[in-house]
Amino acid sequence: MEIAAVLNSLEPAAASLNVDQAEAQEQVDSLLYDQRGSDGKFIGPAGSGAFRVSEWEPGKRLVLAANEDYSGGRAFIDSIDIRMGHSAADRLLALELDKADLAEIEPDKARDAAEHGIRLSVSRPDELIALVFFPGRSATQDARTCEAISRSIDRSSIVSFILQRQGEPAGALLPQWSSGTAFLFSTAPDPITAKEISHQISTTTKIVVGYDLADTLEKAMAERIAVDAREAGVALAVEPVTPAERKSGKLDAELVRLRMISSSPRESLVRFVSTLEPLTGLDPSPVPGGASADQLYEIERNILSSYRVVPLVWVPEVYGLSARVRNWTMPPVGGPWPFADVWLEQQQQ
């Protein structure tokens, strides 16, 4: 039995940030029995996964074979053929055409997929999409500009229309289900205040916001942010960029995705802070070990009060499953894919 999966996050080039690559590597590591070098040669045992690498084309294809010696018992399926580098539409199409048993689906396509009869597996919202303003840009030097933009954004409309209700408006760095303090950060738009600030600063320089060229969700969100900012009187242009263009210096801000690495708010916040500080140029905000919820809240508030980081929405992980996939359970936040327990129903000829 073989499971064919079409995954996006294993493709380093398609990941919006390095964190995704690292996260993906963790997923793979947890599955692997042995470890191989960049040349594909066996290096030595690594991990204690249910599968071992059978074929490996970095960024394109990964074939895993069941580890006969897995301590937890041999997996039900013999192998997993993971193909990477396909667009969201192609992944969905592969699923609909039964060319894949499992595929990542963009949250905004989840409703369509469900209407087309695809089984969905939706996680809790564990990925933050935020607008990050880069330091040293004249257009956003004044924090009030960033504040005006932040206040102008109608996050609920983004969730309703763009995400098709697959997500939550985000006002904090951590989700409510994780920190319990997210409700303290407002997500409601405040166009009146935004306009007032805009009139006060009366800037005419157009702010350029970048988004991942291959990410249609980010594109739609960026365009909506531009509309909201325009209504508030802030000129904002959106610019698709490739990963190589991110550091070109032409962008004033960018949409970034921050995925929680665990359900622990502290661990995720540490990861978020370490990721955001180099991007925003904010002063380090050390997250002490064993920090309380109040301390985490303060750290979040300190970071967000600068308006250099503007949380937008929380989105879940959505997987589409073919009809024959059985015993698939949504992995825990930051946890490995449960391929070891999955089995495939025999198709009737």
Binding site: F161, R165, A220, E223, V227
Partner: protein
């Protein structure tokens, strides 16, 4: 300027004017015709645009109505009419519907004016489109031009609105087509014409908003004044833009304002008609006209020259003939051929000169005969006078020899004395004739005629008051400003002496002899007048003929000599006379032309120009 040249110029000018008028007429007419044609093309294109625009409007209305009538749209309207309807379900519907209906703009708008789904700006969901909810029967409105806000900025669109009503709620379908370069590309343009569209999307003229079918228009800023004028007063307008100094680069534009629902100016259609073909054709016609003119002028000039020569050649020959005749060439003949009047004139001229020559020859012959007769008469007369005493003396000698031998010696002495005297008299007569035949050529020098006249007059002073004859009173009037002349003083004096002598002979009873000198710019004038018996007109005519005399003992050579001297000095002599009153001889001598001749010395003190000296002897 010769007659031929004048005729040539007249012919040529007439030709130039004629051909020029034709060329100008052809060029002007061609230009007018081309301009009219151009205007017709432009108007036809504007009419075509209006038809295309109307067709697009109808097309848009039908498409939007089709979308509103579609099952999916009706289902959407029904769904949205429910309480707590989830509008987010339809956020992406507009794009697909617009593509299937080939619309550039499509919005689904809810009953409260919120945008549910938008093609031109998908991210505007949730925002209000309030104008569409205003009470309006959109079915009656039809299509209209509108400024549409899109993701990439405002654009012009031909729009229509259709309503799907479910219960008390409306779903508005707002759709349209972009009025841009694709629309311009759809227009079929004749060669040399193009269409531009100015999208009036900003308060001031913005060159970026002027497009043609390929994109932003070239040198759009050149249209600024005309667009600004349209923005202030929208109306059809014609104007011309010359892109370079070359007139062929010019382009005539027909500006057609495009108005929105509120009659606001949303765009200006500019139908450009290149002047290149027109100007090129005009130039070709002008070039052809110039070539024709040049050839015509060349041919006309040649023909004019030939015609002028043909007309004037006989006249020139006649003029040369007349000049030759005036110079004394009486045998001159002109060769004028042809049957026309000029030839007849030439033949008449030839007949006239022939007759003149024959008459002159006869006159000369007659004059020669008369002159010889006069010479013979004068010789006979002159010789007869001394011959008679010679004959008488010789007969006295014969008689004395035969009848009175004793007295012969005495008679012989007396007779030989008489014979010698008469022979001397004969010699004198012969010498005078000989002198006349041997008149010397004047030896010219600077001469003051006043001095010559004074000298001559002084010679005759003894005779003016001689005893035994009535006195003659001389009156001398000298022009002291008299310029010098070039002459032979001795010959001139001889001539003046002859005239004075004639005057004295003409006044046997005494009288007044007047000598007067005057001058003008060219000549000096000497008048010798007497108050003698005067001459008849016939005598005046023959007075200067050699050997003609009115005196009892004159040789008739005096005045001939005078005339000869005056003629040799380049002068002229004539006589005025009236019988019983007196005679005046007038001599005109040219003023000396040489610059070396010293002018007469100026008077020491102001004096009257004429001095009258009266001497009574």
């Amino acid at each position: 300027m010769t007659f031929r040249t004048k005729l040539f110029i007249i012919f040529t000018l007439a030709l130039i004017v004629s051909i020029g008028l034709v060329a100008v007429g052809v060029t002007t007419g061609a230009r007018r015709a081309f301009n009219q044609l151009n205007t017709l093309h432009s108007e036809a294109f504007v009419a075509q645009f209006e038809r295309e625009f109307q067709r697009s409007e109808q097309d848009v209305v039908h498409k939007v109505q089709g979308i509103a009538d579609a099952e999916g749209t009706v289902r959407m309207a029904i769904d949205l009419s429910r309480p707590q309807a989830d509008v987010s379900l339809y956020v992406n519907d507009a794009r697909g519907v617009a593509q299937s209906h080939q619309l550039d703009f499509l919005d689904f708008v809810s009953s409260d004016g919120s945008i549910i789904s938008s093609t031109e700006w998908p991210a505007r969901f949730g925002y209000k489109m309030t104008w569409v909810t205003q009470p309006q029967n959109w079915a009656l409105v039809g299509s209209f031009l509108m400024k549409v806000d899109t993701q990439n900025g405002p654009a012009l669109g031909v729009m229509a609105v259709s309503t799907v009503r479910v219960g008390d709620k409306n779903l508005y379908v707002v759709g349209g087509e972009r009025l841009g370069k694709d629309f311009l590309s759809s227009l079929v343009l004749p060669d040399g014409m193009r269409a531009l569209l100015y999208q009036n999307l900003s308060a001031q003229f913005d060159p970026v908003n002027l497009i043609d079918q390929t994109g932003p228009a070239f040198q759009a800023e050149r249209f600024a004044p005309f667009i600004t004028q349209q923005q202030q007063h929208p109306a059809e307008q014609l104007f011309k833009i010359s892109w370079t100094r070359d007139r062929a680069s010019g382009e005539v534009f027909h500006a057609l304002p495009l108005l929105g629902r509120q009659k606001e100016l949303l765009g200006v259609l500019l139908v450009g008609s290149s002047q290149n073909q027109v100007v090129t054709l005009e130039r070709q016609i002008r070039m052809l006209a110039l070539e024709v003119v040049a050839l015509g002028l060349l041919f006309g000039a040649l023909m004019s020259w030939w015609g002028a020569a043909r007309v004037t050649e006989p006249v020139r020959k006649l003029a040369e003939g007349a000049r030759a005749v005036s110079e004394g060439n009486w045998n001159t003949r002109v060769d004028v051929r042809g049957p026309h009047e000029i030839a007849e004139l030439g033949r008449s001229f030839n007949r006239m000169t022939q007759q003149l020559a024959e008459q002159r020859e006869r006159l000369l012959q007659a004059e020669r005969v008369a002159a010889w007769r006069e010479v013979a008469r004068r010789l006979a007369h002159e010789l007869k006078n001394p011959l008679f005493p010679l004959q008488t003396t010789v007969e006295n000698l014969q008689r004395a020899k035969s009848h009175h031998p004793e007295q012969f010696d005495e008679v012989f002495r007396e007779s030989t004395s008489i014979l010698l005297s008469e022979i001397q008299n004969l010699k004198d007569i012969i010498n005078r004739f000989s002198d006349f035949s041997k008149m010397p050529q004047p030896e010219l020098s600077t001469v003051n005629l006043n001095d010559v006249v004074r000298s001559a007059a002084k010679l005759f002073e003894p005779q003016f008051g001689a005893l035994g004859r009535p006195p003659v009173t001389p009156e001398l009037h000298f022009d002291e400003q008299l310029p010098a002349i070039s002459g032979d003083a001795a010959l001139l004096r001889r001539a003046i002496e002859n005239l004075i002598l004639n005057a004295l002979d003409a006044m046997p009873a005494g009288g007044v002899l007047m000598l007067r000198t005057t001058h003008d710019d060219h000549d000096v004038h000497l008048e010798v007048s007497d108050t003698g018996t005067g001459l008849t007109a016939e005598e005046c005519e023959r007075l200067f003929t050699p050997y003609y005399t009115t005196k009892q003992h004159g040789t008739g050579l005096g005045l001939a000599i005078v005339q000869s001297i005056v003629s040799d000095h380049g002068g002229r002599i004539w006589v005025d006379s009236e019988p019983g009153v007196g005679t005046s001889f007038h001599i005109l001598l040219p003023v000396k032309p040489s610059p070396h001749v010293a002018p007469a010395p100026p008077p020491a003190a102001p004096q009257p120009p004429v001095v009258v000296e009266t001497e009574k002897v």
